[in-house]
Symmetry: C2
């Protein structure tokens, strides 16, 4: 913590072009929330927005709100609000269902577009990505292989195997490693593979341009950096060039070309709507829309610059007390979270608990990873300073050992 | 309307054991809502329940609410609240995703449990059921055939074809025809087929007992008779005897035996949780829970008795003015809605519009069906009387022709 003073942090906050956005969020008293990479904070506008949707649109206007309040079109209007955050066209994104379901849809659609039958995934990916991809492969008779995408294994596998589809997380959920989306997408295309990116830990965390990167398909959640609320509906991106050919397997009536004809034969909609299946939870959509409307006021480059500054600060504090990290120090390879390795076996959980007792909320992932997410929309530099100071204090004193002792006492 | 007087209806309401439940709902002034078969009315407790979930559980308690507020277990706790309404065990139902997605899961799971490869569906089923079943069949190499389930075609097809799975709607969305669940399930089993019932138009509308009827799988929505809110998460039932063998294709991490091990290999949970995939929209779950808690106070036999009395009244009024119906007059074959055929071509839509202008909300389905749903929890006998009187007035005077004229004038 020698590198920056609290006063300098106060000055940084005063000069921060994003500072005003913090007022758009409800943040509990006495808490420094470094878990927005898991569940984003509540926008202040959300309770009223949801109440209005429930009381007026549902309670008073009832069934007519499917048209008049735009419920029917929410997957598209919310998709158009996600689009600028990921560098996609407004007609290339829909919102609905969950990330797992959407991943299944695009992986099967991509497999059907290829003559090949290998799906390449990443060994350490978030489990649901592995399970869903495996499930999609099993169902379609494809083969699922896994590589380390941050090593030469990836290019070797693309060169050696007839890969139909490559599925990767843009930012790794554990280490926070950011992958080079344009380069990997180009490499995959050179080898004749389609690419599906999982943006769960990068949408709202790092700038990206799916169009410029020539990405084929992508999915992502809206309840982390995008502040849509716990389990909020996910998004699905499909490049415009694939709309005509892509056939997703969950062919429900919302994806029909003319749903209100109630035809007995399925005919997919012309655009990205063909990726829709059934009705979506409109109460949850209202909360999500509120979060996306806050994001409409944010400049993604400013978010990125502040995020890197904050993770630099936190990494520097960890380095000073010799805490190891699995988060890349190189900016180009870092998302918006810091993952630290516990200084000894069994120390990770009590350290995170001791920090929580001090009001600094991060999380712990077995066996020894402590994760801290940085959300520039509602975190101040002084918060990062105070959190870093708390980390140093907890690790360098006996505080975490006392926490462990207290926990053991509770168990017995 | 000669058969009953308004005074008699007032007396029926006074003696109605369900009368007090009407106060649990918000119903707009001057409206008789006969569209609860499409979107259920708003329970009065819902706005506060959702506000508390958003402000306290999400805003204040943040990430810890996944455990402390029971978010993680919502698919199971909500499932246990749906269970008594459909005659299932509390450990046989989960809530999450949409009806279309859940139908895909159970149809594929059922196909995988059979050596056969024919899926038998119903010709006039709600389109998404046809599309999803067709999609599941295509993906798994099965064959999808369709029959009229209310004719001898059904038993003939079960006898002639090697049917793996029979998928039917318990109540037809258009005519309101109720199918004999125990008899059809038994017949299918006798022919070696598994049965998937769609309960969208019957859950909360008619009593049923999935356990006694030996049903294999079922899905259904919660936003019609169950008052969960527009597009609220759907439910999925799987008979306990199938839990060990059933393998659903959307194998996400919420269906894993030990999700927080973050294992890279999928191992399905032991019970009905194996049908889960990813995180669910908790804001929408809060609204749904509020609706289910009202239902916990209702006696399904009383609901059925009142429903039949109401649809009898409405059918009698239609008969008096020679309006045809496609809803069975036989109680055992009737759900909780009445579908009338427009007296002449093009009359259906203006009649429904003229009724709406009088505050009686039903809906219209091309080409000529006028649908009216009856929801005993919040409809009074006098409402049905008044609605029937409005129908008679609109149809027997020029009112609907004027409505049509007004609409044409708007178009030109």
């Amino acid at each position: 913590m020698t590198s920056i003073t609290r006063e300098e942090c106060v000055a940084l906050d005063a000069a921060d072009p994003l500072a005003a956005l913090r007022d758009e969020f409800f943040l509990p008293e006495g808490v420094i929330y470094l878990d927005g990479n898991s569940l984003g904070a509540l926008p202040r506008s959300t309770p009223d927005r949801v109440a209005d949707m429930i009381e007026r649109e549902w309670g008073r206007d009832l069934i007519r709100s499917w048209n008049e309040a735009g419920w029917w079109d929410k997957p598209r209007t919310l998709g158009a609000k996600v689009a600028p955050l990921i560098g996609a066209g407004p007609d290339e994104v829909v919102v609905g269902d969950g990330t797992s379901t959407n991943l299944f849809k695009v992986v099967v659609a991509a497999l059907r577009m290829s003559e090949r039958n290998v799906v390449l995934g990443e060994r350490g990916n978030f489990p649901t990505d592995l399970y869903i991809t495996e499930g999609a492969a099993t169902l379609t008779g494809a083969v699922h292989r896994r590589v380390d995408p941050d090593s030469a294994e990836l290019s070797a596998a693309l060169a050696e195997e007839d890969v139909a589809v490559l599925t990767l997380s843009h930012v790794d959920y554990r280490s926070g490693t950011l992958r080079n989306m344009p380069a990997i997408t180009r490499l995959a295309h050179e080898h004749g593979a389609l690419v599906v990116w999982d943006l769960c830990h990068s949408a709202g965390a790092v700038p990206m341009d799916l169009s410029d990167s020539d990405v084929d398909f992508a999915v992502g959640c809206t309840y982390k950096y995008l502040n849509g609320g716990p389990g909020a509906p996910a998004f699905l991106y499909a490049a415009r060039r694939h709309h005509a050919a892509a056939q997703q397997p969950l062919s429900g009536w919302h994806g029909h070309a003319r749903p209100f004809d109630f035809s007995s034969e399925y005919e997919p909609a012309a655009g990205v709507s063909r990726f829709l299946s059934g009705s979506q939870p409109i109460v949850a959509d209202a909360a999500l829309e509120s979060g996306l409307d806050v994001w409409a006021k944010a400049d993604m480059e400013q978010v990125r610059s502040k995020s890197l500054h904050m993770t630099d600060m936190f990494l520097a504090a960890a380095a000073e007390i010799d805490i190891e990290t699995i988060t890349p120090t190189e900016h180009a390879r870092r998302g918006s979270q810091v993952a630290l390795i516990a200084p000894e076996e069994g120390a990770g959980y009590p350290i995170v608990q001791a920090l929580i007792a001090r009001g600094v909320i991060g999380d712990f992932r077995d066996p020894d990873v402590m994760r801290f997410g940085f959300t520039p929309l509602y975190l101040r530099y002084v918060d990062v300073f105070d959190a870093a100071r708390a980390l140093v204090k907890v690790v360098t004193t006996d505080e975490w050992r006392q926490e462990r002792f207290a926990q053991r006492a509770q168990v017995t």
